[in-house]
Structures are given as C-alpha cells and as structure tokens.
C-alpha cells in the first residue's frame, strides 16, 4: 500500500479560535480511514481545508508524493478529491441530474456553440447509479422532494461524477435510520472494492470499528495518533479523544439537593418529542445526553416558549407553568443559553454591556428609557463575578476569545436572576483553560442553589458535572442514571 494523500503541519485560525494546530493525516491507497474526535475537535475544519473550502494558514499537502495546493473547491475536484458534506450542499430547486453535474457539465459543440450534452449526462449518471445500485431516484426529480438518505446518495453520485478517487464522508450517518445506514455501508463497501480511498468522519464508535481500516484521533485541533483498527479498543479511542481522565477537570461540588424546581410530565411535540418526563431539584445539575439532533435542544426550547405547539404538564416553582413566549419564561426565572453562541446567543458586533442586558432591559428601564447607572452596575458586577477578560464593558464581543464570549453569554443569563438555567453545549468552541473556568462557574452556581439543566455532547464533561443524567434518543427518553451509576458505556448504549 502506498500513501496517496498526506497533510502535515496544517494550521488554521478563525477570529477567536485556533481551529487546527499542527494537524497531520496520512491516507493510504484504497483504505477506509476514520477520523474521530469530540465535537469541535476540528474534524470538519480539516476536511474543509483538504477540499479547498478553507485555505490553511500554513502547512503542506501531498498527493501521490507530489506537493499540491488547493485554493478552491474546483482544485480539489480536479485532483480527484470530493466530499460528501454533513449539511447537504445540494440545490433544492434543481433536479438530481442538474445537481450531479453542476459546474462541470459535459458539453458538445453544435455549430461552434457549446451545448450542454444531456445525452452524455444521462449516460454517465446511468453508469454511476448502476454502480451505486440506485434504482428509486428519478433524474428529473427536484432535490426538495427527496428524503435525507436519497439526498445523500445524490451527493455520493455527484462526487463520483468528478471521477474522484478520494472520497470524504463528513458524519454521513447523523440523520439516517438504521436501515439507511446499512445500505450506505453497502455502498461504501462497493466503493472500497473499486480502490477508492476514503476518509470517514464520525464519533460513532461502533461504525468506526465496523468499517474502518485505520483511525486517526484528533483533539482540540491537534493530531493525537493514528492506529490500525484491529490494534485498539473502544476505551483507548475514547481516552485519546478525551485526552484526560474523567474527573480531573471537573470541580464538581457536592450539593445538598432541595425540593424539585421543575417537573415535566409527558412532553409531546409531533414529529420531534415523545412522552418526555423528568424533574430537576434545587441545586441540582441535570445532564441531558444524546446525539446531535436527538431532541435535547427542542426540549429546552419548548420549556422556554421559544417553540410552540407542544403538549405537556409542567410544574415550575410549585405552580403550573406554560410559557407563551420566552419573555414569560424569563420573568419566571427560566433561562435558556443557546448552543449557537454567534447565531442565537450574542449580537457579536455589539458591546459586552449591550449583550449582557439584552434580555433584562425591560427590568432596568424607567418607562421605555434605559437606566444607564443601573445597567452599568449590573454589568460590572457580573463581569467581575465571572471574570470576563476585556478592557472594559463597552468592548465589542466579536473581539473576545471564545471562552470570554461564553462567559458573557452565561452572565447575560445570570442577569435575569434565574431559578433554572438551561445550558446548551456550554463549552463548545472554547479552549481547555476556559472550559475548566466555565465548569467551575457552573459548579458554584449549583452550590448557591441554582438548578441547572446541562445539555452536552462532551461525555466526560457531562458525567463529570452532573448529579443525574437523562438520555434522549430520537425524541424519546431512553434512560436516566444517578451519579453513582455513571458510566460512559451505559450512556452511549442508551444514546445510540
């Protein structure tokens, strides 16, 4: 076997985040190479660097031993590298055929004018569909009318129209049913038989062990190690991904738990959530485990009135409660801190002060005019309490590091004097030092009697911080574990 693709010393930064830090990877001819790491470890960024979507700040890339540069996606396609994106990159108003050949349609000249050669397209599409064993997708169907699995098949077919010999899968099974996963794996086996080399990004252990030949583990944007799949165990892989033993990062303070603050019974939302019941006690940190898209965020949004049309019996602070709008929930002391900091959390071009008081302006204003003295007092208190590192309170949030942005976001929630705080992925895109700091803050809040629901995909964090964990899978509650019974294996088993 020979090395077909090799990357070394790859660096890539985004404002406030080091996404890749001396990354490397080696792909051999015809192998199925899994890349795994926690959320935010830099897997997707690495793939986008390989395919020219992002330009690396620094680093070398070799194809068949020759040094190459990939400036834009077209370069990668030209060199036979294609990617099947996590979030589908297809045009929903165009047909399957148009999508497959977008940007590189075969042409033939008629009277000196270049015409798209539909006959050639159909012919090539026939070959590819036959190779992939697709029979149930019409070429003239609009992408919008296809299901998730069918769209993914079109993505694969599209990649093959570039005559790719290196294919990259970015968490392809995230939104597929078990049956669809089986059929995807069959397709992958066919591709492998044809000698196509593949990179496969996933954090689903059992998939990696089933289909991969080798595995590379990355963590916090850095390379950890590569191993043959037969020579490692699941525990070893998890240890490499996490990079630390459970517990050493998480200053969990034992808290005497009080009365239940929130009781949720039979939370139902058609198509998303089914019969979810749980309760949170005073001073408790309740962890929500599950895969991305399992419905954890949706539970939080229903409770806060950000999502409508659901049914449930909710008791909050001893009385029946149903938020009509998020403002209702804030007034009652139920605060949600979104997982997507830059989209739903903060208005990044505005100042720390303006962001922190965004949800409590109604309370620190006289009539409809802001009480600036009161505002300054509030903001300064929380900046000091949480240790936000910034020159002053008028500093623009966009210029803060990820960790400090997250602290501003938590401070924004605390300003509203919550009785129950829902933290959705509180340490995503935050470096290790800031992570520990945020964990300490969360622990202290619980100690002071605040109830917290923590949604996290970072397993050690979840198990390290929580008093109890509820596991959600496909919109259903599949288990609940007390702290003394915690084990990663058990949680994973319930979540997968």
């Amino acid at each position: 076997m020979s090395t077909i693709l090799k990357l070394e010393h790859i660096y890539k930064s985004f404002p406030g985040v080091k996404a890749l830090d001396d990354m490397q990877i080696e792909l051999e001819q015809g192998e199925m190479h899994a890349v795994c790491g926690e959320n935010g470890a830099g897997k997707s960024t690495l793939m986008k660097v390989i395919t020219g979507v992002y330009k690396a700040d620094n680093g070398n890339m070799y194809l068949n031993g020759e040094k190459i540069t990939v400036k834009e996606p077209n370069d990668a396609y030209g060199k036979g590298i294609a990617i099947i994106f996590q979030e589908t990159s297809l045009f929903k108003d165009l047909t399957v055929l148009e999508n497959m050949f977008m940007g590189h349609e075969p042409v033939k000249s008629i009277c000196g004018i270049k015409n798209l050669d539909y006959a050639a397209m159909y012919k090539k599409a026939d070959e590819i569909f036959e190779f992939l064993g697709i029979t149930d997708i019409s070429y003239d169907e609009k992408i919008d009318n296809l299901g998730v699995a069918a769209k993914q098949m079109v993505e694969i077919a599209k990649a093959l129209t570039y005559d790719a010999n290196i294919l990259i899968f970015d968490e392809p099974t995230a939104a597929l049913t078990n049956k669809e996963v089986r059929s995807l794996f069959e397709t992958i086996a066919r591709l492998k038989k044809q000698g196509i080399s593949m990179l496969y990004i996933s954090h689903r252990m059992e998939e990696i062990f089933e289909i991969a030949d080798r595995v590379t583990v990355i963590r916090d944007g850095s390379y950890v190690r590569t191993a043959n799949i037969g020579e490692v165990t699941e525990q070893q892989l998890i240890a490499w991904m996490v990079g630390r033993e459970m517990g050493d990062l998480y200053p969990k303070v034992e808290v005497e738990l009080g009365e239940p603050v929130l009781k949720v019974k039979n939370l139902n939302k058609p198509g998303l959530l089914e019969d979810i019941s749980f309760e949170v006690r005073k001073g408790e940190i309740l962890g929500f485990a599950g895969l991305a898209g399992a419905g954890r965020t949706e539970i939080a949004e229903c409770l806060c009135g950000l999502m409508k049309h659901y049914s449930a019996d909710i008791e909050f602070m001893g009385k029946s409660f149903k938020a009509k709008s998020y403002r209702d929930a804030i007034k009652e002391g139920l605060i949600y801190v979104s997982e997507d900091r830059k989209k739903y959390g903060l208005v990044v071009p505005m100042s720390i002060k303006e962001n922190m008081t965004m949800s409590i302006l109604y309370r620190i204003s006289k009539g409809s005019f802001i009480d600036f003295a009161e505002e300054d007092k509030t903001v300064e208190k929380y900046m000091k309490d949480l240790g936000v590192k910034a020159p002053d309170k008028d500093f623009v949030v966009d210029n803060l590091s990820g960790g400090n942005q997250q602290k501003v976001l938590v401070a924004k929630a605390l300003c509203a004097n919550p009785s129950l705080l829902i933290l959705d992925e509180p340490t995503r895109g935050v470096d290790v030092g800031a992570k520990a700091e945020i964990h300490r803050i969360v622990s202290n809040l619980a100690k002071e009697g605040l109830s917290i629901i923590m949604i996290s995909s970072d397993m050690p964090e979840l198990l390290g911080m929580s008093d109890r964990v509820v596991v959600i899978k496909n919109g259903k509650k599949t288990g609940e574990l007390e702290r003394k019974d915690f084990s990663q294996e058990q949680v994973l088993e319930m979540a997968l």
């Binding site: 930064s13 404002p15 406030g16 985040v17 080091k18 950000l306 709008s325 998020y326 403002r327 929930a329 804030i330 949600y336 979104s338 989209k343 739903y344 959390g345 903060l346 208005v347 990044v348 071009p349 505005m350 100042s351 303006e354 965004m358 949800s359 302006l361 109604y362 204003s365 409809s368 005019f369 802001i370 600036f372 008028d394 623009v396 966009d398 210029n399 803060l400 590091s401 924004k412």
Partner: protein, 327 residues
C-alpha cells in the same frame, strides 16, 4: 472603538456641511446665501423629508427599508384634503390624516412581521396600493393662502424661525432620545445585527418591526401635512421618487443598509446637507434635474464610502480578535 468611529463619521458630515455652506456663499452673488432667512430656509424647505427620514433610519437600522413612503405621504395628505373639504374642520382633517397614515403603516408592518417577505418587496407592493389610493381620492388638491394649514405651514415664530423647522427639531429630539436612550433604540440596533439573538433574548422582534412601520406611517402623514402647508398642493405625482430622497438622507447619515450601524443624529446632519445642496443649486439657477442627478450621485458615493469603511472596520476588528487570542 465603535463609538469613536461613529463620532468621526458625523464629524466628517459636519465638515462637509460647513464646506458646502461656504462654497454656496461664495458662488452665489451678493452673499445671499449667508442671509439668515435663506440659511434657515435650507432646512425648513425639506423639513418634510427630514421628518420621514427619522423613522426611516429606524427601519434601515433593522436592515429593512420602506419604498412606499412617497405615496404613503401623498395618500395621507389627500385623505386630509378630502376630510377637510367635507367637514371644514382642521382638527378632524388632521386626525383623519394621521389615522390614515397609521393604518397604511400598519399594513406595511403587519405584512413585514407576519410573512417572510422582505420589507423592500412588501413596500414595493404597498407603494402601488397607496398610489392607487391617491387615484381613488383623485384630482389635485390645492389651497389658497388664508387657510389655517397654509398659514401655519408657511408661518414663522418671531418672524425668523419657520414653524416647519420647529416641528422637525422637536421630532428629531424625540427620535434622538429613542435612538440613544430607550430600550427600543437598543433593540433596533440589535435586530439589524442579529435578529435571532434578539428573539432568543425574549424580545418580540416582530412586534418591534411592525411598530416602526406604524411610526413611519404616522410620520409620513405628518410630513404630508407639512408638505401641503408649504407647497399648497398635492397631486398624484407628488410622491414619485420621494422614497429615494428619504433613503438618501438616511444613507448619507451613515446608516448601513446592512443594518445595525447608524444614528438618528447622522440622518439629521445629512438632512441639513441635502437642504443646503437643494437650496444652493436652486439659487444658482440650476434646474431640479441637476439636483436629481447630484442626489443620485451622493447616494451612490455614500453607499460605497460607508461600505468601504465597514469592510475596513471589520478587518481591523478581525486582526484585533486574532491578537487577543494569541495573548
């Protein structure tokens, strides 16, 4: 840092204003332009535009736009005329006009808030509808001096400060307070930058968007009355392309069409500038077409200049973020 840049934008505008006044003062013979009544007249003549530009600033701050303002203004002024002719009561006429403006504005607001259609398209559609209102009411509505509205519209306090200017100043102060001191102002800037984050702060952003269109409607009606009081007449073509003039005032004032960035103060200074420009050109004997051409050019230059500054600012802030991270 952002604050510093704001002040400097307005300062540049202020310098341009002074330079323009000096320029016209020199170019126009006998120093007519430096005559206080002429100088004051520059602003009061386009006070009705300035009045519409104030709420327009709010709308553009939220990354929206309202193209229907010209005909909204005309339609409300015509409602006044119709009701006034029927009832011969100034009060009833004014209330009817303001109510009509509010209703028209609400139509815009509710469509913007309740459908996914961007406000420029909504207001393009309603622009035709308001235009049709002017045709339904029909005809040209003119008044002779002696009428209370005209007397007020052309009147001056102490024989020097026009009533129109006073109204503009009062409205400016109200909007300036709303922009810088109120929760509404804070929310408007935030919505322009990131509407989702505002919604996730428990703020009814859609209602705010509806509200500012209603404000726009009421202010347009007020502007319509001022226009009638000044020009003695409205007809079906009065509102044509007036939206461009109003938008120019806002954009020249430094409000970004991408939303979030801008100030009512800037719009006010821009109003002074355009007022001077219009009057100066007229006194130099230039036709309205020249004014149109220069206005279009000013709008384009302002768009480019502020877009360029915005890109520079973003680059600088990005560098700062990287530096901040490496520390």
């Amino acid at each position: 840092m952002k604050k510093k840049l704001h002040i400097s934008n307005n300062m540049i505008l202020f310098v341009i204003l002074i330079l323009l006044i000096i320029l016209f003062g020199v170019l126009i013979p006998d120093g007519i332009f430096f005559n206080p009544s002429v100088l004051i007249g520059t602003t009061s003549d386009i006070a009705y535009l300035g009045i519409m530009a104030l709420p327009m600033t709010f709308i553009i701050l939220t990354a929206g736009i309202d193209l229907s303002v010209g005909f909204l203004m005309t339609a409300s002024a015509m409602v006044f005329s119709k009701v006034f002719t029927m009832t011969e009561s100034l009060t009833v006429g004014i209330i009817a006009a303001l109510a009509a403006g509010m209703l028209f504005g609400f139509l815009n607001g509710i469509l913007v808030a309740k459908t996914k259609i961007h406000s420029w398209l909504v207001s393009l559609g309603t622009m035709y509808i308001f235009q049709s209102v002017t045709w339904f009411i029909g005809g040209s509505h003119s008044y002779a001096p002696g009428n209370a509205l005209i007397d007020f519209g052309t009147g001056k306090i102490a024989g020097i400060i026009p009533n129109q200017l006073i109204i503009l100043l009062i409205c400016f102060l109200i909007f300036e307070l709303l922009d810088t001191k109120s929760t509404l102002g804070r929310y408007l800037h935030a919505i322009g930058h990131n509407e989702s984050a505002v919604i996730y702060s428990g703020v009814n952003a859609k209602m705010i968007q509806c509200l500012i269109f209603v404000m726009m409607g009421v202010m347009c009606a007020l502007a319509g009355l001022m226009f009638l009081g000044k020009s003695w007449e409205v007809n079906q073509t009065t509102g044509l392309n007036m939206n461009i003039e109003v938008i120019t005032l806002v954009v020249l004032g430094g409000t970004s069409v991408a939303g979030g960035v801008g100030s009512v103060r800037g719009t006010f200074i821009a109003t002074l500038i355009i007022g001077v420009l219009k009057k100066g050109l007229a006194l130099m004997g230039m036709s309205g077409d020249v004014y149109n051409f220069i206005l279009g050019a000013v709008l384009i230059v302002a768009l480019i200049a502020f877009a360029y500054l915005e890109v520079r600012k973003r680059l600088a802030s990005r560098e700062m973020a990287v530096k901040n991270m490496n520390e």
